[in-house]
């Protein structure tokens, strides 16, 4: 059954009725494997005759590649294949495809996986080898001679926009500019959103605040580095095992870059040790396939942590300008922002998403956001939870807090006064469907955390965040076994517990024990197409697909019961895991359980399968409000997060523990982003902190227990009311923490991270002591 846009009407409808499985904290199906070390991640596959692949990376941030001489490496005993740019054919210009929350340009992708004309960032792949062991592979890399002509580089987005800046892509044309800049540029795109006339709005304001902010690029910092095993055979067929958020998407990318029929590649996703958006793209996989194609042996490749930092996508750093006007009674009259995002070496920063989300938590008459996508000599950015939104909303939510303070209004009351509701025109165009912005703000305001007094010296901050969430192409199948248990085959990688939540919806629909549903992620040949796990889409879109598959299965089960009883199928209903005869047949017919129908399926027509494939629409946008308390060591500038509460609209929490985990994880990543995480480059554009020692994500003891409040304003387009929950939680933390610091110290920070040296310098400056510079 294929059905686009239509929501199957399941048992759910989010009407608050009691469910047997939905809303419970069921045991996760992947739990035992994960805690016992059985779970197989990207680097855990071992094949006979497997080679080890390694990548030679550019030591320069920007350089022409005059020549690459691989002859000595090829001559080394134990080396089975060497590849360079010459092993990939170029891709046509302008072939841009939307893919999840980002867009894909294959001409850029072929250059990103293997440098062609130029090395565009330190760590850019130049060549790769496959050898019988890692030592020989490393030795072979050292024998490759590359003739570089080093070029000036640029990292800062504002500097990259200036005339005379080093040009990263000579043939770049700015998209969306009214007029061509007339010269070569690093500005890949200009976007603008909004409505009304901000000049009119500012004229109505009693108070106007205008500020500039900077944020640093931050890495997704998944614990599992990229890893894959590729195996190509002499007849041009291939298999790929990899750690990814989307094996169908990876298959498409690899087939395109290698010039293969998509169906010639069979791709299987490993368990994933974190992705957060960073595993929606390919890096090693096309190289491993190309090496395997040359060697006709399987090739395993795994990045080191250092390679992950140098060569894989963080999200953008940015320069942001925000101006907001309000009346003295707390009505926002105008909001304006200019956002300049680093894209890395290829176009594609999430600036458009940032520009759309920047003022989304407000109902505004006059609003405008302008965004620029700017090339710099850094690894191409990749998606990172709610791509673009945390950066923009850090700046806008800081200004909202400040303006509330100036007019003397409680920051949550200020937000409530301006909050959007169903039917409000969003700051980026469309009218909002059913949303829970107000409910979330009220729950935060009424929470014990917000009501409780602060200790001396502490500060409290709040911020609200918004993310769209998405639907997309999804397939699911339920295969009924002969004993009545069910195999649920999914094509969406389980990043955040979706095997649990999707099987819970299947069990709920079928009216059977959760234990009778065994969920698994099929390979790319097992199901129709599945978009990747991203955009907080899987419990939403996957849920619709699974409910549809269950309804399909129930339809067949009713048919079989009708056949068995020899009554019209319309007189059969499905309830509590059994077929029941209705309309006068009730007395004569004993209900038929799922097990009974399964046992006799050969007699009633053969195997029983329920399937559903959709392109899910109507994702429910999600708002969250965070409340955070901080303490500051005023002599060292060290900030302690002492209490943290996340309040967010989930629509419906299918598995509350997983929802809470998403809320907590977003807050923790945001704490790192706010306080310590940054990329440090030397004057040659080389990264100095390519490791977890000096790229400081929080450790467990750095964060308090993160409290969570799940607000449930059902999304009417989902059978159980689900919205996405995975991304919104990372949007508010940076502003919330900055607002808390402003509350504690009376100092407004405008640069991330708010690291100890920066905080101490600001404290000293505020005290009129200039001896400590940051």
């Amino acid at each position: 059954m294929t059905d686009s846009n239509k929501t199957p009407s399941g048992n759910g409808t989010g009407n608050g009725k009691d469910y047997k499985w939905v809303g419970t904290r069921a045991v996760r199906p992947d739990g035992v494997d994960k805690v016992t070390g059985r779970a197989k991640f990207g680097a855990d596959l071992h094949l006979p005759n497997m080679l080890v692949g390694k990548v030679l990376r550019s030591p320069h941030a920007h350089a022409h590649i005059r020549s690459i001489d691989t002859s000595a490496a090829e001559a080394l005993s134990g080396v089975k294949a060497v590849i360079t740019r010459d092993d990939f054919s170029d891709q046509p210009k302008g072939a841009v495809q939307p893919a999840g929350e980002m867009t894909i340009n294959y001409r850029d992708m072929v250059r990103n996986v293997m440098a062609r004309e130029k090395a565009l960032y330190e760590g850019h792949a130049i060549a790769a080898v496959a050898a019988v062991d890692a030592r020989i592979a490393a030795k072979a890399l050292s024998l490759i001679k590359v003739d570089f002509e080093v070029l000036p580089h640029v990292i800062d987005p504002v500097a990259a926009m200036e005339s005379g800046a080093p040009i990263i892509q000579e043939d770049l044309m700015t998209e969306g500019m009214e007029q061509s800049p007339g010269a070569m540029t690093n500005i890949a795109k200009r976007v603008e959103f909004g409505h009304g006339d901000v000049a009119v709005g500012f004229a109505e304001a009693d108070v106007v605040i205008e500020r500039e902010f900077t944020t640093q690029p931050v890495h997704q910092a998944y614990i599992e580095p990229h890893a894959c095993v590729a195996s190509m055979t002499e007849d041009g067929q291939g298999e790929l095992w990899l750690s990814t958020q989307g094996h169908y998407v990876a298959r498409g990318h690899c087939a395109t870059l290698l010039g293969l029929d998509v169906s010639k590649l069979r791709v299987q996703a490993s368990e994933i040790g974190g992705g957060f958006g960073g595993k929606t793209v390919v890096y090693l996989e096309p190289l491993a396939l190309a090496l395997s194609r040359k060697a006709c042996q399987p090739v395993k490749m795994a990045m080191t942590r250092e390679e992950v930092f140098r060569a894989t996508g963080p999200t953008s750093g940015a320069h942001l300008w925000v101006k907001v006007g309000a009346t003295n009674d707390g009505r926002i009259t105008a909001a304006d922002a200019v956002l300049k995002y680093q894209a890395g070496a290829f176009p594609g920063s999430p600036v458009a998403q940032g520009a759309q989300c920047a003022f989304a938590p407000y109902e505004l008459n006059h609003v405008r956001t302008i965004g620029y996508d700017i090339l710099v000599n850094r690894a191409k950015v990749a998606a990172y939870r709610a791509p673009g939104a945390p950066i923009a909303e850090y700046a806008t939510e800081s200004v909202m807090d400040e303006i509330a303070g100036v007019i003397g209004m409680d920051p949550l009351e200020f937000r409530l006064k301006n909050a959007p509701k169903q039917g409000s025109q969003s700051s980026y165009g469309p009218k909002f469907p059913v949303i829970g912005c107000i409910e979330t703000l009220e729950a935060a305001r009424d929470h014990d955390h917000y009501q409780s007094p602060l200790k001396a010296g502490q500060g409290r901050g709040v911020a609200t965040g918004y993310w769209f969430n998405i639907g997309g192409q999804t397939s699911a199948t339920l295969n009924l076994s002969e004993d009545g248990s069910v195999a649920l085959v999914l094509g969406t990688v389980d990043v955040g517990g979706t095997r649990a939540s999707l099987s819970m919806m299947a069990a709920e629909e079928l009216g059977i024990d959760l234990d009778k549903v065994r969920p698994m992620i099929g390979d790319t040949s097992a199901l129709g197409y599945n978009m990747l796990t991203g955009g907080s889409r899987v419990t939403f879109a996957g849920g619709i697909a699974v409910v549809g598959a269950a309804q399909d299965l129930i339809g067949t089960l009713k048919d079989r019961a009708a056949k068995f009883w020899d009554i019209p199928v319309d007189d059969v209903e499905w309830a509590e895991g059994e077929a029941r005869a209705t309309n006068g047949y009730t007395d004569n017919m004993q209900p038929l359980s799922l097990q009974e129908i399964a046992k006799d399926m050969a007699k009633t027509g053969g195997p029983i399968v329920g399937a559903h494939s959709i392109n899910a629409q109507g994702a429910g946008p999600s708002f969250g409000t965070h409340v955070v308390d901080v303490d500051v060591d005023r002599e060292t500038g060290r900030v302690w997060v002492t209490r943290y509460t996340v309040v967010q609209d989930a629509g419906k929490a299918i598995h509350p523990s997983y929802v809470e985990g998403q809320y907590q994880g977003g807050a923790v990543q945001g704490i790192g982003w706010a306080l310590n995480e940054e990329y440090i480059y030397d004057d040659k554009g080389r990264l100095e902190n390519a490791g977890f020692l000096d790229y400081r994500v929080p450790v467990c003891s750095d964060v308090p227990m993160i409290d969570t409040v799940i607000v449930e304003v059902a999304n009417p387009t989902h059978p159980y009311g689900v919205r996405g929950v995975g991304e919104t939680p990372i949007v508010p933390p940076m502003a919330a923490i900055s607002n808390a610091l402003a509350n504690a110290l009376g100092i407004r920070f405008t640069d991330l991270p708010m690291s100890p040296p920066r905080v101490l310098a600001a404290i000293k400056a505020a005290n009129g002591d200039a001896t400590t510079a940051s």
Partner: protein, 286 residues
Amino acid sequence: MRYEAPQTVDQAISLLAGTHGNPRVLAGGTDLLVQLRAGFIDPELIVDIKQIDETTAITAEDGGFRVGAAVSGARLKEHDTLSLLWPGVVEAADLIGSTQIQGRASMGGNLCNASPAADTVPALIAAGATCALAGPGGRREVPVEEICTGPGQTILTDGEFVVSILLPARGSRSGDAYLRFIPRTEMDIAVVGVGVSLSLGADGQCSAARVAVGAVAPTALLVPAAAEALVGGVVDDAAIDAMAAAVRAVCRPIDDKRGTVAYRIEVAGVLAGRVCRIALERAGST
């Protein structure tokens, strides 16, 4: 690459002295293995010293303790009397890494790795600890502050290694302490570290003090001027401020990914004051 685990100090010396190609001592390996895997070093021979009695024992000596160079942080912390005598040294060793690292990491390795930011080194220097070295030329006892000469550089000659570290006896009314500043709560490298050890006379005045600071110069520094600010008077706010100023005066850090010059100097003084107050309280309660 060859791996050997000799049973005696002399066997270790002959292995170390007899091999070309940069032989390396292996204690806990928490620095060495990281450096090996990162490709920073490529030694011909690795000499594991954990099978030697002298490098793995903690023994009482003249009212103090001699700690084998390869004794792990976890074992050090379990030693009750040593922890009572030199709590600052033990807390410095305990800061290293995580529970897993603690099972391996040694003070000898921390010292010989010669990182300017090594946590136990300022605490050991403040404690007045000395090292027993053994090499082809015989044995010698050297103050800890003389071991490191620069980042990754020591006075150890070819074939020579650290056998043990002596934490000396000390009188009553003495206390020591160590604090470091890191932006996180653990698993980080000191931006600044300060160790203070002091003793009080019967009159409550400071009779002896040693102050050392790490991560603000190519090696950890003993700061005699800081000690002088304390000795001979009551350790009050003014004395502590003077001591902190003396610490700041010797700092010559670099700007790097872990902190700026100005920040490190500022925080060195802040920590020195805090550490001094802890040491003072400990001295007053013994």
